[in-house]
Symmetry: C2
Subunit: 437 residues, 2 copies
């Protein structure tokens, strides 16, 4: 009967009730130290996946997870009252935003401590894209990560195993037990990592659509609201965008070829309009939650891009993480090029982002990081039979297979906004390096 | 991804769907052989506890559990076309029915192979009551159990570890994860053990009320219907009674003092009318599912009691399991007697069966198996202040504490039927020693 409290907690969640803070802490502490058996945590995760959690419970779980490991701080910035920002994407295809937004916000005076992830399923991972640049490392020690953010105002690194170990353990369990899709568990997983990374302010880019984990704008909006309210409970300023993932975001899909696209965007060589819209939306929110006055946000962003300051900041980041200016300047796509052609005339009405993401992964597996797919005909583009829809760079996926991911119909599809919804914290929360206020 | 099928199965149950037979088999086989991790089974149990299972799923789970271990058979009876009956109680206080019904049904010509359990929580266990008789053992080998049923027509024994090992493992997990209350899981646990014990026909006595695991007649009826329909899918004749457990069933509550009550009932020394009603209801159903013609049921039962044949059969059972006629004849309650007295005049309107069950357990723990409680004023009895409500036999629980379990009010309470509902299989299912037809 030593675990009577635990069984009672499971019964409460089974019946749709709520657990108090102390119980969430006891469960997570016990899970990490081995005194709470994994089977009970699995049953709890299933009860939560079906019954849900209220915001107080999500906050208690988040706090318990943060306390399971180290918490980063940026004393040289916080003593000057400067807010450190992080940016999170829920995962998409052709989502090159982070590689551009991180140095761009830093060049605007808002330091960014970006803890990032690997590719998952059909979606790309920022770490993989950055590591495609020769020499670049993302396994920074916590001290090196903090020093880089304090020094040049930006870093993009893998999360250290010492941050939020409970989340690592819980996520792996959820993955095995069919309990990944739960707004409360997803939100606590995301926010705990951002709090542990020391962010004072956070922008969440929540993707919605067939290429995203959230299929509908409604689901993505519910998660966005939970993320912003949860961050606010910890005194973090936050905004969340619900952005479209019915089709790939940028033109480039792969790893290194997305780094090329980011470099071209920052250097001003080529700026895909759709990617630009996403980048500006995210960077504007990063500046806003970072404390930049509304009227300065757009001018500063344009100036940092136009002056080359953002590009210079990107080069500094690459150099700080083991690469060089030359490697950045010389990045280019690499592989035999073939063309995916339209089989009929009409309008591109859909591009299957999951298929494109998986095909790009196969091309990279066969041909290295600078293989992949470049989309030339976005949704809404009029095409004639035989015109190019996309370029295939590398071998292993026939161009005809890539073409099959495109749907060409008779009528132009209705326009979809790139950013469907925006959720901002109502009040300017006080920045804090402590936990919940 | 080796366990992709398992995660998908968990997702289906999470979302309220149903799993096919092969998946249930794969899960149970894997759980027993260690290839399916316990955390996944725990998550599944929670999903089932919340979402439920349809009858086809319950049957598939039941069959997979039966196949996890040995299955008993009674060839000397089945070759003569004789049905072996088992009887199950969902657990109550003062429930002495099995000790009487098993030899009584056997004396009526219906062999009974009774696999029984231990005390659980506040409820008593038939094994504990039987073992209170000096010398009696209940840990019969499967071969000895079968031989005794084939020989003298009745045996009461603990379930061998080789029968339904999956249920043992799953029940222990459910107990730790708050997933015990689930009609499907309860029904599959009960029926799998009866099928593995080789029963051709089964009577389920499902208790309802404050002293039972099922609090309401509605819940007990739902379980009863599932039990009977499930047994029918395996070709087993079955009946289920929903019987009252708002107050203790018999007058005696304890272990050995319930054996004394059973002996007295069989020998004709003392027959509590309420206990008699329960025993006749159960034995009549045992005879019915055992194949006795309707018009013979009541006369045979009365004759077996009146002639002493039922008592002789009880003595034979005790002797076969290590006791003697002398020990049965000399059984008596043992301990200092004090009286629990009414504090006011009126009618007994309620007796808290959970409190009485726990107090009796304490008295037995302190004073041995022949300590306990004998109730003298049942619900509905008019009492005067200072009159005896119950006798306390033994030390360790003050009589006043026992009196506090009785509520005395001004008005006589409305009568409650002892058997609230009866569920019988619609068609005479074909007896079968195979699994599902």
């Amino acid at each position: 009967m030593q675990d009577g409290w635990l069984r009672r907690a499971l019964e409460v969640k089974r019946d749709g009730g709520a657990l108090d803070d102390a119980t969430w802490t006891r469960i997570i502490d016990g899970y990490v130290d081995g005194s709470v058996e994994e089977a009970c945590v699995a049953a709890l995760a299933m009860a939560v996946a079906i019954r849900g959690m209220d915001l107080a419970e999500i906050a208690a779980l988040t706090e318990a997870m943060v306390r399971s490991g180290d918490v980063l701080a940026y004393p040289r910035l916080s003593e000057r009252g400067v807010r450190v920002v992080d940016k999170h994407s829920s995962g998409g295809v052709g989502d090159t935003v982070s590689l551009v937004a991180v140095p761009l916000a830093a060049a605007c005076g808002v330091p960014v401590a970006k803890l990032s992830g690997r590719a998952l399923g059909h979606t790309g991972g920022t770490l993989d894209k950055l590591e495609a640049i020769p020499g670049v490392r993302t396994d920074l020690s916590p001290a090196a990560f903090v020093a880089q953010v304090e020094g040049i105002g930006c870093a993009i690194a893998a999360q250290s195993a010492r941050l939020v170990p409970a989340d690592r353990q819980l996520y792996a369990l959820r993955d095995r037990t069919g309990t990944v899709p739960s707004t409360g568990l997803i939100a606590s997983s995301i926010v705990s990592k951002k709090i542990a990374g020391g962010a004072d302010a956070i922008v969440f880019d929540v993707k919605a659509g067939r290429g995203a984990f959230m299929r509908t704008v409604e689901d993505a909006l519910a998660l966005s609201e939970t993320l912003v309210r949860l961050a606010a409970r910890f005194g973090r300023r936050a905004s969340a965008l619900v952005s479209d993932m019915e089709e790939p975001l940028g033109a480039a899909v792969g790893t290194g070829i997305e780094a090329v696209e980011a470099r071209d965007f920052l250097r001003g060589d080529d700026r895909d309009p759709r990617l630009a819209e996403a980048i500006f939306a995210v960077v504007h929110e990063m500046l806003r939650v970072g404390g930049v006055a509304d009227e300065e946000i757009a001018p500063r962003t344009l100036d940092a891009l136009g002056s080359g300051a953002a590009y210079e900041r990107f080069v500094q980041l690459v150099e700080a993480q083991g690469g060089s200016r030359t490697t950045v300047d010389e990045l280019s796509v690499d592989g035999r090029r073939t063309s995916a052609l339209a089989g009929r005339s009409g309008f591109v009405t859909a591009i299957d982002a999951v298929a494109i993401g998986e095909q790009a992964r196969e091309l990279v597996a066969a041909g290295g990081p600078f293989a992949g797919i470049r989309i030339t005909a976005r949704v809404g583009t009029p095409v004639r039979a035989g015109e190019v829809l996309a370029e295939c760079i590398g071998d292993g996926v026939p161009a005809a297979t890539i073409a099959a991911a495109f749907t060409v119909g008779d009528a132009a599809p209705a326009a979809r906004p790139l950013v469907a919804k925006m959720v901002r914290d109502a009040q300017a929360a006080v920045p804090s390096n402590g936990l919940r206020s």
